[in-house]
Symmetry: C2
Subunit: 196 residues, 2 copies
DNA sequence: CCTACCGATCGGTAGG
DNA sequence: CCTACCGATCGGTAGG
């Protein structure tokens, strides 16, 4: 009832693994731990995933997809850069807050992937960051942003966003949109009071 | 020559473990991996540390100590809140950049500690954050900061700082102090150009 | 999807 | 600090 997804065994394994990798980390979670939580035997996992690495990979890929699918329409939208950047921050925040486990696994556990896949994730991250750099660049060129270095500024924006999964709780005082708005305010306006 | 520390076997184990825990993660690094890099047998580690958990714990404790020792004099200094907050940001950045491995282990691997020690680290983090909250609170009261929520603002400051270990490289274009200054500028002034 | 099993590796210890 | 070993657990497989 809580999640309205298919609920096939494969989906259950996927979501349970996502939870446990987030909770305890990839290597501290055994294939048997996951199987037990889903109610099957350890070996049975291998009729759904070829390896533990494959299981992690599918989670990481899915998370990456969500970030790209969410940001692309914003980056390509026909709107002023001021509003676009705000919208982008709020969108990224919503991707994280709507699946904290996935965000955590994507941010910290991806490095336990096989070397080839780790390289693939690095490439995806660069690609994602370059979407941000393009927006920030435009902001600088149009005189909206004061930052001199688009790469550094992009990293700054993404830092506070990517830290979200460590402290945001759905049952906390802030909604997902409020938290995105707050980060956007802090990021662009700064903490210092603007003298009138 | 590079590090002028004691270079006792214990120190070598400590630093090698710090490096490898950072590189591959705690559970992906075996006691034998560390021993081999130092040039001793796996079992010999246990004449220097009681357990693998103890080894991680000593690294985490040392990292925590460095943060506290650096921030306390700043927090207690007799200076204006404007300068104090800037100084605090630069100081935190310097603790991270001067030992990236330690910062990474402290930030991501601490959760693989035994439950009791994990709880202890959580307590330390809260304590550290409360030092920041006190400074931010003062900044708000004195009208220097526009933020309404000291806890949220503190978290925002620490987010971009704590992401430093993922991208800062000593051989990169920025020095440790430059990076601290840049983050302080972005954090307090924001990315948006202030209209004159 | 289960039972039963594989080789490999793990953290840790005893005894020197 | 080493040699030699311990039980436990790991990811993964075969055969049904």
């Amino acid at each position: 009832m809580a999640t309205a997804t298919t609920n096939s065994t494969r989906d259950q394994l996927f979501h349970t693994a996502s939870q446990m990798f987030c909770e305890k980390g990839f290597h501290a979670t055994s294939i048997r731990d996951i199987a037990e939580r889903v109610g099957i035997q350890g070996g049975s996992i291998y009729s759904h995933f070829e390896s533990k690495d494959d299981l992690l990979w599918s989670i990481v890929q899915h998370a990456a997809d969500r970030f790209f699918s969410a940001i692309r329409p914003v980056a390509g939208a026909d709107m002023g850069i001021t509003q676009k950047l705000r919208k982008a921050v709020i969108t990224h925040a919503e991707v994280i807050t709507s699946d904290l486990d996935a965000a955590a696994v994507y941010t910290v556990e991806w490095r336990h992937l096989s070397p080839e896949r780790r390289a693939e994730v690095t490439k995806l991250r660069d690609e994602y960051e370059s979407i941000w750099r393009t927006m920030v660049d435009q902001g600088i060129r149009e005189g909206y942003l004061a930052a001199s270095d688009a790469a550094g500024a992009s990293r700054f924006i993404l830092s506070s966003l990517n830290y979200l999964f460590t402290w945001f709780r759905p049952d906390g005082p802030l909604t997902a949109e409020e938290v995105g708005t707050l980060i956007a305010d802090y990021t662009f306006d700064g903490l210092r009071r603007r003298t009138v």
